[in-house]
């Protein structure tokens, strides 16, 4: 290949000189693409960086001096491939998680006061409406609560039966609780993701879905309250509900942030606003996911083991206070104020 006759075109000579370096890059990129950059030795990794820069340089030159379409196309593709390998994400999953937990999520929560307010207000209004509607006409209960969720806990049920659902074994033998917990977790998380993602439609569907969740709770609460079991139900709900319902509200807040970005983009274009607010919104839904895991564990294992209402209240609200402390206090270092 070294037959460099003076007769040769300038662009062909250019290609002959540089081709070995491109081929080397091609081999390295193929390896890294298949087995990851970690599979390269020190020398190979160094070569990858050098030959990548050379190829980029060649591309820039070739675009100017060469009219060989095959060459320019090849270099374009080679550089794109190498670019994707060189600029692959390099963070470790562990570092990512710890950063998310110590600073990312708490800060995102503290920046989202208005959306969080929307989320919690949606749930609260729903609950109040459900409660009041029930006392107007108990048949509302059947409108709000799907029969498989109600599980016999209807307005017609006796106080004794209702009490047994709070303190009994719920007919679930202990070894089935694991399956129950995993079901709850995946079901609730699916709902939370849906509540979040629906926020893109101007946050209205998120609000409605959370409101509906509130209605359900309100009507449910009213059924028990009518039979004088308000305190017991409150305790029963508290142990996991503080975490679980907050998680739904937080997912709604995440959705609301997306919706607000579209509704009130401020000085940015809507597209940019969506991208900007998306950062915090995603952190909110990750937080909701974490809280739902915890809620499912409590609900699956702790709720039926702990039978005293006082203890249930203490555990539930204690965990709630722990969440609050984490979200309010973590990640407040010097850099935080500068953001």
């Amino acid at each position: 290949m070294t037959a460099q006759s003076p007769d040769q075109l300038r662009s062909a000579r250019f290609r002959m000189e540089r081709e070995p370096s491109w081929k080397r890059l091609e081999v390295l990129v193929a390896r890294a693409d298949k087995a990851g950059v970690k599979s390269l030795s020190y020398d190979e990794a160094r070569d990858l960086a050098t030959t990548y820069r050379q190829a980029m340089n060649s591309l820039s030159v070739a675009r100017d001096i060469s009219l060989d379409l095959a060459l320019v196309t090849y270099l374009e593709q080679l550089c794109s491939r190498a670019y994707l390998v060189v600029y692959a994400p390099q963070e470790s999953i562990r570092g990512l998680v710890s950063r998310l937990l110590t600073t990312g999520i708490p800060r995102a929560v503290r920046r989202s006061a208005l959306p969080l307010l929307i989320g919690f207000v949606a749930m609260f209004l729903g609950a109040v409406a459900g409660y009041l509607l029930y006392f107007q006409d108990p048949s509302w209960y059947f409108t709000f609560v799907p029969p498989d969720t109600a599980d016999g806990r209807t307005p017609a049920a006796s106080a004794d039966y209702l009490r047994s659902t709070l303190y009994g074994d719920e007919g679930a033998p202990h070894d089935a609780l694991g399956a129950f917990a995993s079901y709850l977790f995946s079901h609730n998380t699916q709902i939370a993701i849906l509540v979040f993602a629906l926020g893109i439609f101007l946050s209205v569907p998120s609000f409605l879905l959370t409101f509906y969740n509130g209605l359900l709770i309100g009507a449910f609460f009213a059924t028990f309250a009518e039979k004088g079991l308000a305190y017991d139900l409150f305790a029963w709900l508290s142990i996991h509900g503080v975490t679980e319902l907050s998680a739904i509200c937080i997912a709604c807040a995440g959705g609301a942030r997306l919706g607000l970005a579209l509704l009130l983009p401020g000085q940015m274009t809507r597209r940019d606003a969506l991208r900007h607010h998306g950062r915090d919104a995603v952190k909110l839904i990750v937080l909701a996911g974490i809280m739902l895991v915890v809620a499912a564990l409590i609900e699956g294992f702790l709720r039926q083991i702990v039978q005293s209402p006082e203890l249930r209240l203490t555990i539930g609200w204690g965990i709630g206070a722990a969440w609050l402390a984490w979200l309010l206090l973590s990640g407040r270092d010097k850099g935080a104020g500068l953001r």
Binding site: S5, D7, Q8, L9, R10, A12, R15, E19, W22, R53, M56, N57, S60, I65, S66, L67, D68, A70, L71, T73, Y74, E76, Q77, L78, C79, S80, R81, Y83, L84, Y87, A88, P89, Q90, I93, L96, A176, G178, A179, A181, S182, Y183, F185, S186, T189, Q190, I193, L194, F196, A197, L198, I200, F201, L258, L274, R275, G278, R279, V282, I285, V286
Partner: protein, 310 residues
């Protein structure tokens, strides 16, 4: 970065080009993946993951090593994991590719020319819930939904399907939130240099500057494509004759070219034309096509439609 298409006619088939500016400062081009390829990849992913879970489930029941409830909870968890978490993890680990995307040869990249961040991957896949899973599941139950909900679902599905067609980069909602685009995975093939095969100048054909002042880059590269990939058989002979005649007429080349020499003539002309144009380039004279003299060139052929104006 800038999204302007290459400002000249392209020899390669018309595809949507996304021009990124990496930190090296040399813009590189990616081809936007077609909506069909993306849908195919998505369907492939659903098939792979669900068949995988079903196989695991069958395996667990058949082996019967775990207690029944543990098996059930494992399967429930698996069914959850193959929805959103699978996509997030796969794109994290394989740098923007899931199994389906690998098969369809497409991948996710960050639209800003920097590396794909975990945040972007999470965001774009979370939106999949409203864009794909929920509407598809609701479509299956559309009979039980009643008129109002059925109508809402239909509007929802249509609305979400339309989004990629409303922007040039074919971004779906999740891509818009995350700032990502889906592109074809580049593959590298280096074809030989036509000129390198015949390094010596063919003395049978002599081209004067007046001959070489006619054509520009577009015509040269069209000729390159013909020479690289000639039509086989008798049709190829006809094509060769047509091309040769057209060139001879256009550049007013006086000497006769024997039918057997047509290919050699075209090679020699390609070489001379390329040398000439490359030299002109060095002097800052970039001739895009044969209209370079008059200047009334249809320089940009890509049609701009009113709904795509940005």
């Amino acid at each position: 970065m800038t999204t302007t298409p290459a400002p000249y006619r392209d020899i390669v088939p018309k595809r949507r080009v996304e021009r990124l500016l990496p930190p090296e400062g040399v813009p590189i081009n990616f081809y936007i993946a077609s909506v069909g390829a993306r849908l195919g990849a998505q369907i492939m992913d659903v098939l792979i993951t669900y068949i995988g879970v079903l196989l695991v489930a069958f395996g667990l029941f058949w082996l019967d090593v775990l207690p029944m409830t543990a098996t059930f909870s494992l399967i429930i968890i698996l069914f959850f994991l193959v929805r959103i978490p699978y996509y997030i993890l796969a794109e994290l680990v394989w740098n923007g590719r899931t199994l389906g995307k690998r098969i369809a040869r497409i991948r996710v990249i960050s639209a800003d020319g920097r590396r794909l961040t975990p945040h972007q991957i999470t965001a774009r896949n979370l939106m999949k819930e409203v864009e794909f899973f929920t509407p598809v599941l609701m479509l299956f139950t559309v009979d039980d939904l009643g008129l109002a909900l059925g109508l809402i679902t239909t509007v929802w599905v249509l609305g979400v399907l339309i989004v990629p067609f409303t922007n040039r980069r074919r971004q779906r909602l999740g891509d818009l939130v995350a700032g990502t685009i889906v592109v074809e995975n580049p593959k590298t093939v280096l074809l030989g240099d036509l000129v390198a095969k015949a390094p010596a100048r063919d003395t049978r054909f002599e081209f004067l500057p007046v001959h070489l002042d006619v054509y520009g880059r577009y015509e040269l590269q069209t000729l390159e494509a013909i020479l690289r990939d000639p039509t086989k058989g008798p049709a190829g002979e006809v094509e060769l004759a047509r091309v040769t005649d057209a060139i001879i007429r256009k550049i007013a080349y006086a000497p006769k070219v024997a039918p057997n020499d047509r290919r050699d003539f075209l090679m020699a002309f390609y070489r001379a034309q390329r040398e000439h144009l490359e030299n002109r380039r060095l002097f800052g004279d970039r001739r895009e096509d044969k209209f370079h003299k008059t200047g009334d060139a249809p320089a940009v052929v890509g049609k701009k439609r009113w709904w795509r104006r940005r």
